[in-house]
Amino acid sequence: MRDMIDECEQTAYSAGLAAGLAVALAEAPGITPPGRVAAVPTAALPPGWAITPASTVGHRMAGQEGISFATTGGPIGPVDGQLTQFCAHLGAVRLGVTRRLLEWAVEYLSGRTVGGEPTISKQLVLGVLADVQTAVEAARRSLQVSGTVPAAVVDVHDRVTTLDWEAAKLLGASGYVAGTPTRSAYVAQLTANCWLPREGVS
């Protein structure tokens, strides 16, 4: 489990969301989502799955990240150990995406000034960077130690969603322009939305 957590995170960090997701899916052959739609790498569509038409802006953004949404036409998948393990790996993928976003934010802030001082040196900014870095470390340990516990895995995903938003806010409006790493983080959230079971909801 620990090796796969590392591999998923490192692949997403170095090669992006779709590559990381492909690694996670390869470890879970035959897996089906707990809802009616799955997020999969466009370049590695599992056999028998059909891509849903790209009808919304969210679809378009996902397509630009190499992610498609697909259906199997079959029954909704069970919430079992395989799904939990896959979602833990997907959590690691998201951590890699978060680290890319954080690096982008540091680079962006290093090139800006406020009141004649580097923006990166401001305490409010450094505080956020420290908090996000700390939370990434904590989330990774959660996946390594509790990656078989469904509630813990869902909790990590929810924490990552919050972290991504905190990091994106550092970019101001520039983080809202399509094509920046914030898009990857958002599409990662859409991806997780497809795969994560939610208690009491099907």
Partner: protein
């Protein structure tokens, strides 16, 4: 805690009814924000244009009344209309944020010119403050108004993240006439005009706003288009505009909260009888009370930056939380199966950077503490 009086309740109810029209157009404008041809005659957008225009400039044959006579009425209306769709509100023609600036800084003649130039209902306006390299640090802006030997000024520089900038025909642009903070002034700019260029940026959400970047290469600005000449020097420019920012922050907070309520209502519609919304509902009710109180405070103390900053900081954050909660409440794949919900998740994030990011607001909120002298 503010209780709405009968006229404000009537305004709330009317806007709530009108919101459905915006909702029906939301996904279309999100997909193609440049194509507004089928939407500008929307009865709700026409109402918003008229109601956000001061009474003396309104078409007597159209809507009678306004909701811009107080910050509280703006908040009430914006909350309800954004519950229909915030993207449509920002996609509309009419005075918008530029109107707030002209109301605050413009002479009667300038206001007549501004509102006359948009009276056709087909004219977008823009409010250009932010610069790419300077972000929220308005006092460091570099766009400048140089004296024109032939009279008036020449505008040089660039602005970024300007709503409707690329399609606006009348806008308010902030620029400096010298190096001191008091030299930052606002001018009405008409487009197209030589030296002006604008193009839309591809944005993640609130796409109806058609957020753009603008450049000015010697754009001629007649002297009479410089706002605030009739005001004391201390109130002509950036400092005079601070009241404008306070109103804008309340309005943006109201829109964020409107989207959050929409997401809550959507979940309740999808899951009738489910009690899992109660905590979110309670938070939203408290947030609405905070919004109304803050808007009323702006009406009473228009120079106080702290209260509107608190409202915007809390409500924009809450809106992000609530849309995320809604996505979880509707289960796996909800953001693909419910396109409006997915759109709202993107839209609410835009409120974060509009008219003061969270960190800028935090500085406003704690300014009084940071500058307090120690007691001996």
């Amino acid at each position: 805690m503010i209780e709405l009086d009968p006229p404000l309740r009537a305004l709330r109810d009317r806007c709530r009814d009108a919101a459905a029209d915006l909702r029906s157009r939301a996904l279309s404008v999100d997909a193609d924000p440049a194509d507004m041809a089928d939407h500008l005659d929307s009865p709700t957008l026409a109402m918003v244009r008229a109601a956000s225009t001061p009474k003396r400039f309104q078409d007597p044959s159209g809507w009678q009344g306004e909701y811009t006579d107080s910050c509280l009425s703006r908040a009430v209306a914006s909350l309800e209309l954004a519950g229909g769709d915030a993207g449509l509100l920002t996609a509309n023609t009419g005075p918008a944020l530029a109107g707030i600036a002209v109301d605050a800084l413009g002479s009667e003649t300038q206001q007549e010119f501004f509102y006359g130039s948009i009276a056709d209902g087909r004219t977008w306006t823009f409010f250009a403050m932010t610069e790419d390299a300077r972000g929220s640090d308005a006092t460091a802006m570099e766009t400048r108004l140089d004296p024109d030997p032939d009279g008036g000024y020449r505008l040089f520089g660039a602005k970024r993240y300007v709503g409707n900038g690329s399609r606006g025909a009348t806008g308010v642009v902030f620029a400096r006439t010298g190096r001191s903070p008091l030299s930052i002034r606002a001018a009405i700019v008409r487009c197209p005009t030589p030296g002006f260029a604008g193009h839309a940026l591809e944005m993640t959400g609130l796409r109806g706003a058609l957020i753009s970047e603008l450049s000015f290469d010697g754009v001629h600005v007649p002297r009479e288009m410089l706002l605030g000449a009739h005001l004391p020097a201390s109130r002509r420019g950036i400092w005079g505009a601070s009241r404008t920012f306070n109103v804008m922050r309340i309005q943006i907070a109201a829109m964020a909260l409107g989207v959050a309520f929409a997401a809550r209502d959507y979940v309740c519609d999808q899951r009738p009888g489910w009690s899992g919304h109660e905590l979110t509902t309670a938070r939203l009710a408290a947030a609405r009370a905070l919004l109304y109180d803050a808007a009323n405070e702006v009406d009473l103390s228009p120079d106080d930056r702290r209260t509107p900053s608190i409202a915007k900081l809390h409500l924009t954050d809450l809106a992000v939380q609530v849309t995320g909660w809604a996505a979880n409440a509707l289960g796996p794949g909800s953001l693909l199966l419910h396109p409006l919900l997915e759109k709202w998740c993107r839209d609410v994030r835009a409120f974060e950077f509009m008219d003061g990011t969270s960190n800028i607001l935090r500085l406003h909120i704690t300014h009084g503490i940071a500058t307090r002298r120690p007691t001996s």
